[in-house]
Symmetry: C7
Subunit: 97 residues, 7 copies
């Protein structure tokens, strides 16, 4: 069995409706998700760009992508993923700048 | 039942009266809210721009939006929302800059 | 009863006398105040601009504004207020910049 | 026996497929790995540049490099490694700027 | 009785002698002071500009100002004061920039 | 007996081979070392510039310098050292900028 | 008795020999010193500029200055000192910029 996904960071584009709260509630309702943080990155006349930080013990990325698509959104890119027995954070190195 | 909203960050425009304290008290009085932080972002001759960071165990966004409207304010945008079993913070990624 | 105010951040203009210490002592003496931090933001020939961070379990904003006025100061603006069952801090979002 | 590797930070280039999640799952599945954080650094038409922060009690760098190669990726550079009895973080000095 | 002063931050100008250590020792010896941090801000041919961060349970500002004057120094300005039952730190707001 | 060295920060130049992992393992294997963090600062066609943060209860600097030399590396400079009964970190002062 | 010095931050100039490690060991060996952190600030052909962060329960500044002088170094300036019953850190104020 693949090691569990513990954090998934998604860049999502969505129409104005449904709103950011409904996206958060639907994603937070997916199995394996303990909580989700949705931050509004940009809004223009037609779409909103959201950053989703999703955490849980066994996140199912495909289910989440499906839920987002069902709401009319698109996963523009997967910006980060952390998986394994424990949650590991990114660490700075001199190469980052 | 939708997973509970644990943090809601709102960008609010309001007239000078009622003042920022009354807005804080009214929003803090809404069901499901444990506390609210209201920061003054900008003031001009006619309106004030506030940033509300609202936290609780089961925030009811519609009730809060209604309370703000009743005070003469407008929710300009929902800048952030966190919901689920536990409160998840946004995490930096190299894509943020 | 309105939810208690737990933090109040005030931008205050005052004449050189009485000094910043007397302002701090008077505000700290107001009911419901556990402590106050007064930072000197700017000084010119006539006035001083202070930033007051006031914390407590049930801050009475009107009493504090009155005390500041009695000392010859003016509350230039209320820059922040936090109220409710617990003290909530402001949270960053991508919209802040 | 060589002291165990406890953190390995890799700069990896990979084609668009398989996606970043599969890379994370495969690396997290390698012996001695407790968890992995994969951050998307850059994407262009053909390749993605990832930053892997891998932590564990006895990371086997060769196995990980092999797993990445098997997925079609390349370890562009080893940006950081920490090994020994305990995990030591990099410390700033005035020489860093 | 006025609420106790728990932190006092002073901008002090002093001649080269006595040195910064003697200033620190004398201020730390004043009643109500638990400790003092003295940072050298600037030095020119004649004077030194010091920043004193003084903490205690009941700081006596007048005594400290007197002690500094006796050493040949001048309190250029009181940059910060915190008083009350507990020590409160300054909190950032969007107005600070 | 000289007080023990608890942290040593070295700027090291090395050829591409052996790689950064071997350097980390060899240094981590030296007596008195609890762990080492090696960060890649710069790479060019011929050499790599590494920053080593070495921690332990009684680091033997000469042994480490010897081990690095045996691997074909050179200690370009000792950027930091902390020694004594306990590990002391560098503290900022206004003079640092 | 003067309140004890708990932290002393010195800007030291020294010739290339003896090296930074010997300076650290000698200062760490002085009475009242629990530990010392020595950071290399600058090196030129003739001298090195070091920043010493010295901590202890009763630091004897004169002894340390003497030890540094005996090694061929010079205390260029005392950049910081903290003394009293407990160690107090410098606190930011709006006046710092």
């Amino acid at each position: 069995m693949a090691p569990p996904i513990r954090r998934l960071i998604l860049d999502v584009m969505k129409p104005h409706e449904p709103d950011i709260i409904e996206f958060a509630e639907v994603v937070a309702g997916c199995t394996g998700v303990s909580g989700v943080n949705v931050a509004l990155v940009e809004t223009d006349r037609v779409v909103q760009n959201l950053k989703l930080t999703i955490e849980g013990d066994a996140i199912d990325a495909a289910t989440i992508e499906g839920a987002i698509t069902d709401l009319g959104g698109t996963v523009h890119s997967i910006d980060g993923v952390a998986c394994g027995e424990r949650l590991v954070d990114e660490r700075d190195t001199p190469q980052d700048n």
